[in-house]
Symmetry: C2
Subunit: 216 residues, 2 copies
């Protein structure tokens, strides 16, 4: 028997509110009562849909992981030109998390709360497509456009670290510089891209107007 539209709707609402609350208050800091209140139903009604808090958590993370698995491989192929392939991959990656900062927050929280479970899930679901990037970097190394002393695997991890760190914690940590209006993480994103580019490419700042440059 297919689900009623209302059933799908309420399940989506539950997941949505739960992600929001898990991101800001964490799993242990979020009671079922709090989630029920955010939706506007009674706690016992919430438990009719999810059966337990643990199952709710599982569904939240399954939802998030499926986003990764569906969107990320596709955005990785959104790469355009030769030099811009790098920029577009980074930008797409950043955009994905920037779109909703809850994604990186819950990811970090989960890594801290349940490292073993996340390790397993990450290995199982994300290992294969990230291999593609590694191979691409290794290829660039052989072609001489990528710096020879790079460690591709570690490089990718460090870039991921900067991305999720910036989106989740950037507005807090950038408060160290009181002169700027904090909360605006745009400068951080720009510098992150610059760092990633300079650490990867032999010629990080190409000058197209130089003689012999490919004009097309």
């Amino acid at each position: 028997m297919p689900k009623h539209p209302a059933d799908i709707d309420i399940r989506e609402r539950i997941i949505e509110e739960t992600i929001q609350l898990f991101a800001t208050k964490g799993y242990d800091g979020t009671s079922l009562q709090l989630i029920a209140d955010a939706i506007g139903i009674k706690k016992s009604s919430l438990l009719y849909h999810v059966s337990s808090k643990e199952e709710l958590r599982d569904q939240v993370y399954k939802n998030l992981l499926s986003h990764w698995k569906n969107e990320l491989p596709q955005l990785l192929s959104t790469a355009s030109g030769e030099h811009d392939r790098f920029s577009s991959v980074i930008n797409a990656f950043v955009s994905y998390f920037l779109e909703n900062s809850n994604r990186s927050k819950v990811a970090i929280r989960e890594m801290l709360d349940r490292p073993d479970e996340v390790r397993k899930a990450v290995k199982e679901h994300l290992g294969s497509w990230i291999k593609l990037i590694t191979d691409y970097i290794v290829l660039g190394k052989k072609l001489g456009v990528v710096k020879p002393d790079i460690d591709p695997d570690s490089y990718i991890i460090q870039v991921i670290m900067m991305v999720i760190g910036t989106v989740a914690l950037g507005s807090v940590i950038s408060a160290m510089f009181d002169n700027k209006d904090s909360r605006n993480i745009n400068p951080l994103i720009g510098e992150l891209e610059r760092i990633a580019r300079h650490a990867l490419l032999v010629n990080p700042t190409p000058k197209p107007q130089k003689t012999g440059g490919k004009s097309s």
Copy 2:
């Protein structure tokens, strides 16, 4: 009246066990009962020393912040040569967090749980000495040893992001590459240093054997 040695001892034990538990389970996931059990006393006895869970948290973070304020300025002056000044600052910074991964874990957890409070504390206590690094980078820029397109503030934040991220989450996120034995974050540290160097310096890999190099 001065504190008894036993008083100091028990307070240190309380802080120590609490940091450990806050790091692995978070504030909301750590009950006073759990802390008391770890120390080996009753919960009410714990409450004789700390009066409330909130006060316990404040003391834990005050303890951690004082470590920062005392050790970091001193390790920043541990810089040695001209080119190695960079490496030694980075290394000292990494070592500080690597020494006890709980430090970066609780830092990240606190940033997620109470962003406003951390923003205030960070601005108040860490803003001044981090200014020193910024100035140093700006100077290097004028001297032409630092890349001209760098954003010093954002650069420092991104390096911090990589450091605390690597120490706190590195063993989890590096599980994406199943070929390597995870948990060993040494390659991550090495690559982090390389990234930071290449993104900062005009000449990231000096060749001392070249003519005219300072041999001493």
